[in-house]
């Protein structure tokens, strides 16, 4: 093996890598935030007494969960223009990520909602709260606290999925890494550092979320 390690080109371009990482985090945050809203609505739809809603929601979840995310990304970015919807790379990826997240989070939220004793809703009804108020002030806050561990896992997973934005040339971390790799031929160094960045970030996110879990835990 005639390969001498030379990390210099990687360190010189560290700012690009970090910018890519920052972009990836931003995409993850916004994508998951929107995904949470979609997922919450879908979870309620999955539990709705209206059959059409249940079917629609179940269809959405099954479709998205069984389709490779890369296909979804390409579909939204390349195929939508043929029916008149033209989006820029960033928006397209963001929407794809949100829809993808929504389908996975819907299952998480649905489990969380089903675990809430129905007495909670009845207690809310008994003091005269409206249905939407009960959802807003009781059901959703309790449910979110209960599903926080699963939510954390989903967040980390979705952050890693932002690496796929590179497939449509969104300049996040993986894209930057590939660029450096192709330009400098420092193959081992580039990918080692990139992996390390991802692993470190995931670790920090996990740590922060565990702190959050502890602070919000209902079993104090």
């Amino acid at each position: 093996m005639n390969y001498t390690l030379n990390f210099a080109p990687v360190w010189q371009n560290l700012d690009h890598l970090l910018a890519g990482l920052a972009l990836g985090l931003q995409l993850a945050l916004v994508g998951i935030a929107i995904g949470c809203l979609i997922g919450l609505a879908t979870a309620f739809a999955l539990l709705s007494p209206v059959r059409a809603l249940r079917w629609l929601a179940a269809g959405y979840v099954t479709l998205v969960r069984n389709t490779p995310i890369l296909v979804l990304i390409l579909l939204l970015y390349f195929a939508l223009p043929s029916i008149g919807i033209r989006l820029d790379k960033l928006s397209s990826f963001l929407i794809t990520l949100a829809l993808y997240a929504g389908a996975y989070l819907a299952e998480v939220f649905r489990g969380g909602l089903m675990a809430i004793p129905k007495g909670q809703r009845e207690a809310g009804l008994a003091i005269g709260l409206r249905e939407w108020q009960i959802k807003a002030y009781v059901i959703i806050p309790v449910m979110l606290r209960n599903v926080l561990p699963s939510l954390s896992n989903s967040f980390i997973s979705l952050f890693k999925d932002t690496s796929l934005a590179a497939a449509i040339a969104v300049p996040e971390l993986t894209y930057q890494a590939r660029k450096i790799n192709l330009e400098s031929y420092r193959v081992i160094e580039t990918w080692l550092v990139t992996s390390a960045l991802y692993i470190l970030t995931c670790y920090v996110i996990a740590l922060l979320l565990r702190q959050l879990e502890r602070r919000l835990s209902l079993t104090r």
Partner: protein, 258 residues
């Protein structure tokens, strides 16, 4: 404007079914202001279902329930019976208060927050006013020092007392108690019964379902014995317990410890 001659709660020929099974077969019951009425009977008699119809946690198919003259849950319109819109029903529910067997306190809120939630979101009170009332009622049930505790940090008896405070703080005309002590360890039952007795003596109108026969005897103005979806017998506690007229009641009392 409430006419003081109109009963506070008036149930007329109430019918309720779960699917094809009829569980309430024509209930007639009325309560005047300040009455404390306890429903007793074996499980399946319909007593809990009846209680839950009063605040429309269960719907009913026939008859009517009136609270201070106002029809609960449904209205007659052009000869057809229609369920009231959700907003109306929510308002009607806030006229009654309910204490549940499982307490059902909101786990993510402190005791005080549990009590003030309804005040702020239903009665639209400002924070200071709500807190003042909330603290007053927590003090009344003896739990003011636990105002900032979460339900998970409270014993069963404490939770139930907070739950009662939560219901009473809404200033209901009628309090409903659904087996308030059945889920409690025996040592904790007394503190909850003491609170209920206290409220009764202050003139709160109450409809209770309980298995605590001695308590029912002590606190009630009237006992109503239900069996298989009907009211078999009702009357003052002394009369019912010592001179039961129906055989079913006699059997029931013979089986339960008193």
């Amino acid at each position: 404007m409430t006419d003081s001659n109109v009963p506070l709660l008036s149930i007329d020929d109430l019918h309720k079914s779960f699917g094809t099974v009829e569980v309430l077969k024509g209930i007639d019951l009325s309560l005047d202001r300040g009455d404390v009425v306890t429903l007793i009977g074996s499980s399946g008699s319909g007593k809990t279902t009846l209680l839950r119809c009063v605040n429309l946690l269960e719907d009913f198919q026939g008859g009517s329930i009136r609270l201070a003259g106002e029809a609960i849950g449904y209205r007659e319109e052009g000869g057809r019976r229609q369920r009231l819109p959700e907003r109306e029903i929510a308002r009607q529910r806030s006229l009654t208060g309910m204490a549940f067997q499982q307490f059902n306190l909101f786990p993510h809120l402190t005791a005080l927050e549990n009590v003030t939630l309804g005040l702020r979101k239903v009665k639209k009170m400002g924070k200071d006013e709500a807190v003042a009332i909330g603290e007053q009622w927590l003090r009344r049930v003896g739990l003011i020092e636990r105002r900032d505790y979460h339900p998970g940090q409270l014993s069963g008896g404490q939770q139930q007392r907070v739950a009662i405070a939560r219901a009473i703080a809404m200033n209901p005309s009628l309090m409903l108690f659904d087996e308030p002590t059945s889920a409690l360890d025996p040592e904790l039952v007394g503190e909850v019964l003491a609170v209920i007795k206290d409220l009764a003596q202050d003139g709160m109108t109450m409809l209770l379902v309980t298995h605590e026969m001695r308590f029912a005897y002590e606190v009630s103005d009237r006992i109503v014995f239900m069996s298989q979806g009907r009211i078999e017998e009702q009357g003052p506690p002394r009369e019912l317990f010592e001179r039961p007229r129906s055989t079913r009641l006699a059997e029931f009392l013979g089986r339960t410890s008193f």
